[in-house]
Symmetry: C3
Subunit: 139 residues, 3 copies
């Protein structure tokens, strides 16, 4: 049984989804681990992780629209406003999605469904450098 | 340290909850692993996982009602409509719950609370075959 | 490769956030495990886990406000009312956040971001004893 740990950096460009599946698939393949468990952890509280559909980009547009309406900018009830009008909604949207994901590895691959991709979900208005710690255990 | 991996198939019958705790408890018991970590991963983007109360079925009814109201069918703001009026709300409801769960194993059992069950949460109107990859590591 | 498992008990005092990061950091340090995976599992369906900002306490106030408005007490559509007006909203708020978290361990530490803390998120009105199973695997 072995472990591999790597911290990935991604540059985002405002609210939306970055498909990180290719980087993760390469990480798993390069490890030489055939069966195991991959864990991803985002080191931020205004960006998150989501496994969602990779076929029709309108699914991602509609997901973004839903979260934008559910936790809108400029709600006068927010008291945490010092970091800008997009900060508190970003924390809420991150709280409603995932800071971490665990995905089994089988035959050296992530057994994602046909239409699944793993996304980094950025919530802040401006682009950011985002770090994801990837931990893989298996053999 | 050993690993076991199995893909479970469940047949759902429209929106709602399927208690998959018995199958998982049997899987853990059959593995012979006393202490470890069970990870579940749903290979779909319109069904999800949820640990919730197994005592009063009205809790599940009310949860279903909440998610139905929060992400209703037929919202005119959805642009992804080609797969039917129930598809986009299904993606949203899945995004708000879990694609994966990690649960420790202790003394050959899942240390669930007295009132906890593990549910497959179907979001599409029609029944579907749903696959869950179960990965167990431990000894 | 080794495993350590411990059940933590926390006393909460009504709806809100308990920072459990110090207890978890001590647990990891005491294990002697340098690299691995920590998994936390809450044994309840009306309390949950959340990784969120530890800097400005107003972030937590606003998160609490958001969840209180999204799943309010006394919604006449709830049918599960026998356990009090705060019970069904608690199940909903727990369903929207996390029952479990997986966090890598690197160099004997949790690689949390600068502003991240791990919170137990209580949803019931009264204080409760809450149990979290912590599982650590690594070497």
């Amino acid at each position: 049984m072995r472990q591999v740990l790597e911290t990935f950096s991604f540059r985002t460009r405002g609210p939306g989804f970055t498909d990180i599946t290719p980087e993760l698939a390469r990480f798993v393949a390069a490890s030489g681990i055939g069966r195991g468990l991959l864990t991803l952890f985002v080191r931020h509280t205004s960006a998150s992780l989501l496994v969602q559909e990779n076929a029709d980009p309108k699914v991602l547009d509609d997901l973004q629209g839903f979260f934008t309406r559910l936790a809108p900018e400029g709600d006068p009830r927010y008291t945490h406003v010092e970091e800008g009008p997009d900060d508190m909604p970003s924390h809420i949207r991150a709280a409603l999605t995932q800071t971490q994901l665990g995905i089994p590895v089988d035959a050296g691959r992530l057994p994602l469904g046909t239409w699944q991709a793993i996304y980094l979900f950025e919530h802040r208005t401006g682009g950011r450098h985002r770090e994801i710690v990837a931990h893989l255990i298996g053999e």
